[in-house]
């Protein structure tokens, strides 16, 4: 099996020759930039550079999937949030949110022709051409809850989630609609799967009740739109134990979790409830990948597998100064088992 066949089989609940290994979230590192000759910040804006750097995931790291983009600000930028460029070292981030909670969001026209989306689509087409025969090509979009956070600001969103949640609905609805448009364009560009990163919908930020009422319904709506055509991996940061069944109920084809999550317990609950959603994870990006030795990485992989993951992936985004030998060690460990 090649990486693409392996990952897609895992996402569809089929048999695989070995466990898939990928990085659900971003995996570009400074070393990978050196090796591929495609660096930040250009790789955030230019489709060719974006693809060249991402392709290193296949050619250098030997992951089963590649993915673009590298940051989580593409959608919010089109809504008018001011973006701070991260230069060579960092990913772009939100400098100033576009709107306040009391504003009414307006869905930008021709959403998928704006901002950096054309570059992302171009990168996906190129990746499809260059490495897509063997490797799954994934487009990553930001979940509606997190897009809303990037449009009105994290603090404002969090406070409103308790005090006036009804004010937030228009933001979630708009973000869900534009996410559908974006996802459709990504699929048309050739993506084999879509990652939804909804990092603000984490219990590090909101309560289980808020997750159920404000984040999950829009994730679910978006997923049911996308996975008629391609499978969806949902990634939410943090310790999700209290809502793991709710995350499964979004209908995602796989759930990517951090090592803070009790995977064993999650699997037990799934079994009890007749849920077969695969769980991906959970090699720690800091203590194992960034700061650990290859041996620490191997331990992390083995622990994740022993706990019952269905594919191996870092917990969350890989830090850009991570040594690539550690990412390769993650892949090698899986291959060697």
């Amino acid at each position: 099996m090649n990486g693409k066949e392996r990952l897609l089989a895992a996402l569809r609940g089929g048999a695989t020759d070995r466990m898939p290994v990928l990085s659900v979230c971003q995996y570009a590192t400074y070393e990978l930039m050196e090796k591929t000759g495609a660096c930040w910040p250009e790789a955030h804006y230019d489709g060719e550079k974006m693809a060249a750097l991402a392709a290193g995931g296949a050619t250098v790291l030997h992951l089963d999937a590649v993915r673009v983009p590298y940051c989580q600000t593409v959608e919010a930028e089109i809504y008018g949030s001011k973006i701070k460029d991260g230069g060579k070292k960092q990913i772009p981030s939100i400098e100033k949110p576009a709107l306040s909670v009391d504003d009414v969001p307006v869905i930008p026209e021709n959403f998928t022709e704006k901002g950096r989306i054309p570059a992302v689509l171009d990168a996906i087409r190129r990746l499809k051409q260059d490495v897509g025969g063997e490797t799954a090509v994934m487009g990553s979009i930001v979940g509606p809850f997190s897009v809303a956070a990037n449009i009105i600001g994290v603090s404002a969103l969090l406070k409103a989630s308790l005090r006036k949640p009804e004010k937030l609905a228009p933001f979630f609805e708009a973000a869900e609609k534009t996410a559908e448009q974006y996802a459709e364009a990504v699929i048309n560009a050739g993506a084999d799967a879509i990652v939804i990163e909804d990092m603000m919908a984490s219990l590090d930020m909101i309560s289980p009740k808020a997750y159920r009422e404000l984040a999950a319904p829009y994730e679910k709506q978006l997923i049911s739109f996308i996975n008629k055509r391609v499978p969806v991996i949902i990634h939410i940061c943090g310790k999700l134990d209290q809502v793991i069944l709710d995350v499964a109920a979004t209908g995602a084809d796989a759930i990517s979790v951090e090592s803070a999550v009790d995977v064993r317990e999650a699997k037990r609950k799934f079994k009890e409830n007749g849920i077969s959603t695969p769980v991906f994870g959970a090699v720690h990006p800091i203590s194992a990948l960034l700061e650990g030795t290859e041996e620490d990485v191997a331990q992390g992989v083995k622990k994740s597998i022993a706990d019952g993951v269905d594919a191996v992936s870092p917990d969350c985004a890989v830090a850009p100064d991570t040594p690539i030998k550690n990412i390769i060690a993650m892949v090698k460990t899986v291959e060697g088992l």
Partner: protein, 215 residues
């Protein structure tokens, strides 16, 4: 009576109720409650909520709103405390920011508001702040305190860079350097010879006051 009001103050924090906190603070002053004790009761509430946060019984939005409630109550209690201490002292300038390479903002903002409420003249430099910028602004504003946040193991070393930079410029002793943020610990603060470490916003205010020898 005073006991009741103190309980009430604490409860407004546990209920993260901004309006009730303000009312209770006014009520406390009207009833002649010692404002220092009143602040203590509020802090108890925030600490209790903090423990629940650790246990994942309450979540970040509750903490943020409780901080707002705390801030509201302080806005009437602090002036009273100041009046009793020293008459008409000039607010002490502080520069605060999240270090270069780090864009986490939420916790730093909380610390900035608490310091402001505690009567400091806070200048928030935002996120991704280079050591040279901390110094530049601190000089310009004649700041006594430089407060630097870092949320990631990858940006924590920048707190050390900041201190080394001040050292190299020969101005280290002109400033009290406070460090804090998710990955920062007292040991780290000691290791890099920071003047103080703030575990949370309340602790940061306390350490700032202690280091400046103001009440």
């Amino acid at each position: 009576m005073a006991e009741n009001i103190l309980e009430k103050l604490k409860q407004t924090i546990l209920d993260f109720d901004e309006d009730a906190a303000l009312d209770a603070a006014n009520e406390a002053l009207a009833a002649g409650v010692d404002p220092v004790e009143a602040v203590g009761a509020l802090a108890d509430g925030l600490n209790e909520l903090g423990d629940k946060f650790e246990r994942m019984e309450v979540f970040l939005p509750e903490i943020m709103l409780a901080s707002d409630a705390f801030k509201n109550a302080l806005s009437v209690l602090e002036p009273e405390i100041k009046k009793r201490n020293t008459e008409g002292q000039k607010a002490i300038p502080v520069v605060i920011g999240t270090v270069q390479g780090d864009v986490h903002q939420v916790g730093k903002d909380m610390v900035a508001t608490f310091l402001t409420t505690a009567g400091f003249d806070v200048h928030d430099l935002g996120v991704d702040v280079a050591p040279s910028r901390f110094l530049e602004e601190a000089k310009k504003l004649d700041a006594k305190i430089i407060a630097a946040a870092s949320l990631m193991s990858t940006t924590r070393p920048v707190q050390k860079d900041l201190i080394d930079f001040l050292e190299a410029k020969g101005v280290r002793d002109n400033f009290i350097v406070l460090v804090g943020g998710g990955v920062v610990t007292q040991e780290w603060a000691d290791q890099i010879k920071a003047d103080g470490y703030g575990q949370d916003a309340i602790a940061t205010v306390e350490i700032a006051k202690k280091l400046l020898h103001v009440a």
